[in-house]
């Protein structure tokens, strides 16, 4: 991350000015697809700064929640504020980065050409492109056609386009799927590096083990929030040995309560 060491301190200042405001504030969010409510009255707050993990089985509404936060999801009710502004506000577009679950890059362009396009749209320069190539470890592949890369490399090209412009809030939908353990390790340290510089990260995963790498986790199931806690807190309250065990314990306690 040394190449990005000249990062201005504006983000930290903004955070201290309104420290009470959460990075993301979701209130009674309702999203309907067809006649099925994907999210029904979901409320949560994501604090500024730490890495928040969004965990839950696939189909539980993680991606829908993320799409709502970046402002591309049609909502049926409720409100979502990001950095104090309604989600999807034009002024948020430079401050919120969104990594889609399937890599959304132009596969017929080279890695560098992809980054050049996104950099021009966002309005950042060449130095930023070079720094981002280093961050995601794709310097050697920069001249290759994106569509001919491996799945892991493709995912990193997509991630690189999100890191361009250094957005304050990063919404990353399963960024580490299919990556080799070493690379996953590097990416997680990149994420924590970003968080240490005042960025807010929301990272979804369906791999429960990854929860331990987060400062705070949101556990979701069937469009509802099961728990929001630190990984350690989660284990303490449920008495489980790992996050997967905590998840099972929480699901059981919820169904016990509803049947009682």
């Amino acid at each position: 991350m040394s190449a990005r060491g000249d990062f201005p301190e504006t983000v930290g200042d903004a955070a201290s000015n309104d420290a009470v405001a959460a990075a993301v504030d979701v209130r009674a969010l309702r999203v309907v697809r067809g006649d099925h409510a994907v999210l029904d009255g979901l409320s949560l707050r994501i604090p500024r700064g730490p890495v928040t993990g969004l965990l839950g089985p696939s189909g539980c509404g993680k991606t829908t929640l993320m799409r709502t936060i970046v402002g591309v999801q049609i909502v049926a009710g409720g409100a979502v504020d990001v950095l104090g502004l309604p989600a999807g506000s034009p002024s948020l577009r430079r401050r919120v980065g969104y990594l889609t679950q399937t890599p959304s890059v132009y596969r017929d362009l080279t890695v560098r050409e992809n980054l050049e396009y996104f950099a021009r749209v966002i309005g950042v320069g060449r130095a930023e492109i070079e720094a981002t190539l280093d961050t995601v470890g794709l310097r050697d592949a920069a001249a290759r056609i994106t569509g001919r890369l491996s799945g892991g490399q493709l995912a990193r090209v997509s991630l690189a386009t999100v890191l361009l412009g250094d957005p304050d809030v990063l919404v990353l939908d399963e960024p580490t799927v299919g990556l080799d353990p070493l690379l996953r390790e590097e990416l997680w340290s990149t994420f924590h590096g970003l968080a240490a510089r005042g960025h807010t990260l929301l990272v979804s995963t369906h791999v429960m083990d990854e929860a331990e790498r987060c400062d705070e986790v949101l556990l979701m199931r069937d469009g509802a929030l099961l728990a929001q806690d630190t990984p350690a807190g989660l284990l303490a309250t449920t008495g489980a040995g790992d996050v997967e065990g905590a998840f099972i314990a929480l699901v059981r306690s919820v169904s016990d309560r509803s049947s009682a």
């Binding site: 969104y98 889609t100 959304s104 132009y106 017929d108 050409e113 396009y117 749209v121 966002i122 309005g123």
Partner: protein, 232 residues
């Protein structure tokens, strides 16, 4: 809408095309080939070729831009890049303007090449255009933009590339048939003649057949051009 995002998009689209030389070759080469074929199909009827030759210069960019646009937009949608772009400081208008710019450049080159072949290299094609050449070029570019707008519109209804391609015979072919290319419209069945009045391709045909006959920018020509411009 910002010039920066529009230009970036146009440049990106042209770069994508450059990565696909076969498509470029087909886009530029096929119209020339087809025009030559039409010329010799009407070998014994030069008057017929004189009537349809110039309008064909407008039909080619329209058809190819229709196809290219509907497929690329569909790709942009299914690959997730469209959704991603909508989270960036880029409006839908920037994206469309970027595509329009890139494809207009392409349509102009396409028309230039076809016309070059028709009017210069193959003077044996014996095609006469009374109006200045830039008028033909301008109308052909308008036609390309019209094809693009139409492709853009229909691609919203296509769920797969198969469907998008099938929209060509379903929506463009009838327009070509009714435009007057095959035969004078006033000799068609009355309902078809009326229907033709509401189809944009009819005005594209009229505009180009007018520039081939007169060098004066008539009121009718201006009207035709306006209709093409508005419907896009």
């Amino acid at each position: 809408m910002t010039a920066r995002a529009t230009l970036a998009t146009a440049y990106r689209v042209l770069r994508q095309l450059r990565r696909d030389p076969r498509t470029v070759l087909l886009l530029l080469g096929v119209p020339m080939f087809l025009l030559a074929v039409v010329r010799w199909v009407f070998d014994g009827q030069p008057a017929v070729f004189q009537r349809v030759g110039v309008p064909l210069l407008g039909v080619f960019p329209l058809v190819s831009m229709f196809l290219v646009t509907s497929i690329t937009m569909l790709r942009e949608r299914t690959s997730g890049t469209l959704e991603r772009l909508m989270t960036l400081p880029l409006s839908k208008l920037d994206l469309l303007a970027g595509y329009a710019l890139a494809f207009s450049v392409f349509a102009a080159i396409q028309t230039l090449l076809v016309a070059l072949v028709a009017l210069v290299a193959l003077s044996l094609l014996d095609l006469h255009v009374a109006a200045p050449f830039w008028a033909v070029l301008a109308i052909a570019v308008l036609n390309a933009l019209h094809g693009m707008a139409f492709g853009l519109f229909l691609s919203a209804f296509a769920h797969s590339e198969f469907q998008a391609v099938q929209f060509m015979p379903a929506f463009l072919l009838p327009q070509i048939l009714l435009s007057g290319l095959l035969g004078p419209r006033d000799q068609m069945a009355r309902p078809l003649e009326i229907a033709a009045h509401y189809l944009p391709m009819t005005y594209a045909f009229d505009a180009l057949s007018r520039v081939s006959r007169t060098s004066v920018l008539t009121r009718e020509l201006a009207l035709d051009a306006a209709v093409i411009a508005v419907t896009r």
